[in-house]
């Protein structure tokens, strides 16, 4: 399902978190939303998820203007912990199944196995990395047309990252789903991406097709990101 932001601005107090942002995300593609901490990545995802509203401009998922109810079409992996510590892994999966009609319990079981999560373990007994894997299981088990992942790799070791990349590839439905990954860990996800978007102080300062970037400019996403960010810094200081 396509996602569209048109001239979106969001202020927290006097500070702009997003400034007149327009973006389109197409079905069947994986997007990387890249930027340093505090650049507006999370705000963008929260707006698509209907958790934050813009001060001006319009956010649409499918052809529907986003409200709280958009959670029916949008699966959102937050960077925060959102678990009840007393729940077991199995409780959490069951809870999710009651909240979302598109929750696929068969897929959830497969993912639990792949991510080596034990059903009977209590959330409070899990390490940060294990909780990160559980969040991913819950997000990927939904057959939602839009998948938003906010820093899915934070706190995970390299081996786990590899297996997560594989799970992402195995479980996305490229005919129906759009995936947006916000991260500052660019190296990990570069080969996964169709398009990379650089966001800096609430401004979109670049959007590129990853393979075209390599083909036409001989740059990896990381190289390009560094160049773009450096130019931006120079402009702001000059």
């Amino acid at each position: 399902m396509a996602v569209k932001l048109s001239n979106v601005s969001k202020k927290y107090g006097k500070e702009f978190s997003l400034k007149n942002v327009s973006l389109t995300f197409e079905t069947g593609k994986i997007y990387g939303l890249l930027g340093p901490n505090g650049s507006g990545k999370s705000t963008t995802l929260k707006m698509i998820a209907g958790l934050v509203y813009p001060n001006s401009g319009k956010v649409e998922v499918g052809n529907e203007e986003v409200s709280r109810k958009i959670s029916k079409n949008v699966a959102y992996l937050t960077e925060l912990d959102m678990f009840y510590p007393g729940f077991t892994v199995a409780n959490m999966v069951d809870y999710y199944a009651t909240q979302f009609t598109d929750f696929d319990s068969v897929k959830a079981e497969e993912l639990l196995k792949e991510m080596k999560l034990e059903r009977e373990k209590k959330i409070k007994q899990l390490s940060k990395g294990t909780r990160g894997r559980l969040k991913l299981v819950l997000a990927l088990s939904r057959n939602a047309p839009v998948l938003l992942l906010d820093e899915p790799f934070s706190g995970l070791d390299p081996m786990v990252r590899d297996s997560i990349v594989k799970s992402l590839l195995s479980y996305i439905n490229f005919d129906l789903q759009t995936m947006i990954i916000a991260t500052h860990e660019i190296d990990e996800i570069e080969p996964l991406l169709d398009e990379a978007i650089v966001i800096f102080h609430g401004n979109i300062i670049g959007q590129k097709n990853v393979e075209e970037l390599r083909e036409e400019e001989g740059l990896s996403v990381l190289d390009w990101f560094k160049d773009t960010a450096k130019n931006m810094e120079a402009k702001m200081n000059g």
Binding site: G28, S170, P191, R214
Partner: protein, 125 residues
């Protein structure tokens, strides 16, 4: 086994190069079926659209053929495999010679250096 990719070269080409050398070495036989786009994407840890592009590019070069509903197969045409081998060989020599010239070595130096190296490699066994 997620592969590491070079920064400056398109990923679809790097995958095509890898498959081509496997075909030339005979690790993938003429007529053999390649993994599906999805399988290949998962094994390499890359976007399926990238693998799709790899397969299209290799099809354009005549190295593989896509049969509707069946998948992608390595060509049975040995001439194509042979010319692929020649081409890969040329590319490697090209890079080698470029780097040697970059060091300011003459044609004689290069051939002599190579001969010595190969001899040394034999003696080493």
């Amino acid at each position: 086994m997620t592969k590491e990719f070079q920064a400056s070269k398109p990923i679809y080409i790097q995958i095509a190069d890898h498959l081509s050398s496997q075909i030339v070495r005979g690790e993938i036989r003429p007529g053999e079926k390649l993994p599906s786009v999805r399988e290949m994407a998962i094994v390499s840890g890359v976007n399926p659209n990238t693998v799709q592009r790899t397969y299209s590019e290799m099809e354009r070069m005549g190295i593989v053929e896509t049969k509707r509903g069946q998948g992608t197969f390595v060509t049975q045409n040995e001439e194509i495999v042979d010319s692929l081998k020649t081409q890969l060989q040329r590319e490697i020599i090209d890079r080698f010679v470029q780097s040697m010239r970059g060091l300011g070595l003459s044609e004689e130096d290069i051939t002599e250096g190579l001969k010595q190296y190969l001899r040394g490699e034999q003696d080493g066994r």
